[in-house]
Amino acid sequence: MALTDFSMLELARRLAAGETSSVEAVKASLDRIERLDKKVKAFLLVDARGALAAAEASDARRRAGTAFGRLDGVPVAVKDLFCTEGLATTAGSRILEGFVPPFDATVVRLLKQAGLPILGKLNMDEFAMGSSTENSAYFPSHNPWDLTRSPGGSSGGSSASVAARLAFGALGTDTGGSIRQPAALTGTVGLKPTYGRVSRYGVVAFASSLDQVGPIARTVADAAALLQLLAVHDAADATSATTMAPDYATRLDAGVAGLRLGIPREYFELEGLDAEVRAAVEAAAAAYKAQGATLVPLSLPHTKYALATYYLLAPAEASSNLARYDGVRYGLRVPAGGLREMYAQTRGRGFGAEVKRRIMLGTYALSAGYYDAYYLKAQKVRTLIRQDFAAAWEEVDAILSPTAPTTAFKLGEKLDDPLAMYANDVFTLPCSLAGLPGLSLPCGFSRAGLPIGLQILGKPFDEATVLRVAQSFERAHNFVRAPPLGEG
């Protein structure tokens, strides 16, 4: 087993025992990135110098007995949506090319304070809008399981880097499924925490009522350990939760005996749900029953309206959030005759096709005469979707479903069909709209050898149960595998 194959916690154990060093781990990761990332293309920027300096400092702390914590010295990477002081941050967009933030996002600061070296910035769909990384202004990332396929999106660089073992773990963001869907498509564990659980300060904003930061890792325990670092109140984010996070490790191995797990009918009846995905998820549900959980058939009747609701609300919020890219304070400026012309030319040149589409859709949904029919209507349906879940929580402790309707699709396959691309998010959107925690973990492989993801949804701020349910499956049916990447 190569050093880069270890889980975060296994590496942490070896660091603590003095069997390896953070410098060795960073060098092994950088070496693997050097050899393989020309195929996977997960990274937009590799910060070898910064990561090595952080690793040296970590090793010095370990030697002095002053390690910052369990994960001190474990190298990770972050989506390029997080501001990193002194390190270029693009959000996958040309409009932010050359932008070097003068501050760290809170989550980046938390990683640094815990001693984790940051290997670099990961590719993503521009401004986190997309499900494939093909909307990156720079290049698409490739799925380590089949390089002709997408690693999902928008956090596809995060999922690809973790699956390909270029990084031990990664941070992503999830607005409508952008952590869970890429995790499902790459055979990794991705957790979107409850809205408000993790600070959004310094995270380039997409849709502020939905955006949430979370980990992508190779094991459930790693995801829990990363979340533990991130789940702290931040006065710099007014929506940051003040409730203390529990110790996620305490009940991680408690099993599912006695838990009630909901099976929402609407998720399994969807036209377009791949038969192999459905079979794998149903097999996972049966496995839970064998472990002592009670399966409870459920109805979440407004599920089919989530897609339309999301694709009105998220673009509306995005059209407002992205107004700040106007060529005045940072990023691209296209000189033009007057101020308005400069705005329009800068934005016309700097944004890619999908971002323009969503700004247009959102501007339209918010514009005079259409606000009530589109934006307000969608906000009301959002209430109905929340009420579906609120009723379900009277009966169950967690909900099981597929994460994505299919396994990884070919790059280019859906690029020119926005509605087909949006349909990828059909199972992840309701959770986002309701602000719930949701996790995807590998539950099998298709005959073609592609990973399949199981989604576990939980009550608000009950990440502990979501992780515990996930752990119970992973322990019995471990689908963590190394993808068959040539070592060339």
Binding site: F99, V100, P102, F103, Y195, G196, S209, L210, A235, A238, T239, A241, H302, K304, Y305, L307, A308, Y311, L312, S319, A323, V328, R329, Y330, G331, R333, A336, G338, L339, R340, E341, M342, Y343, A344, R347, G348, F351, A353, K356, R357, I359, M360, L361, T363, Y364, S367, Y374, L376, A378, Q379, K380, V381, R382, L384, P418, L419, S432, L433, A434, G435
Partner: protein
């Protein structure tokens, strides 16, 4: 719902987006298809439903009015495409 070319152009103006003729034509077709797809929400009677604006039950985050360190003008202006002294420079808007 089929958007007219004029509507597309008007929305682009509102959004401060310079679109090429080709982009406008494609936008007209794709936005119309998306608006057709979201028509499904009309099936639902929401006359007595309160809107949800936020996933969290947001509470006002009052805090003490204390001075904390923030960016210096130089740091804040470091990424500016153009600056004059401690200000962002923009094209002239007044004659």
């Amino acid at each position: 719902m089929k958007l007219s070319r004029e509507q597309v152009h008007h929305v682009a103006t509102l959004a401060h987006l310079a679109l090429t003729a080709e982009e406008e034509a494609k936008m007209q077709e794709q936005l119309s298809a998306i608006l057709d797809a979201v028509e499904t929400l009309r099936e639902l009677d929401t006359s007595s439903v309160e809107p949800t604006s936020h996933a969290a039950n947001a509470v006002e985050g009052w805090r003490e009015d204390t001075v904390v360190p923030s960016l210096s003008p130089d740091q804040a202006l470091k990424n500016a495409p153009a600056r004059v002294g401690t200000s962002f420079a923009v094209p002239r808007i007044l004659e």
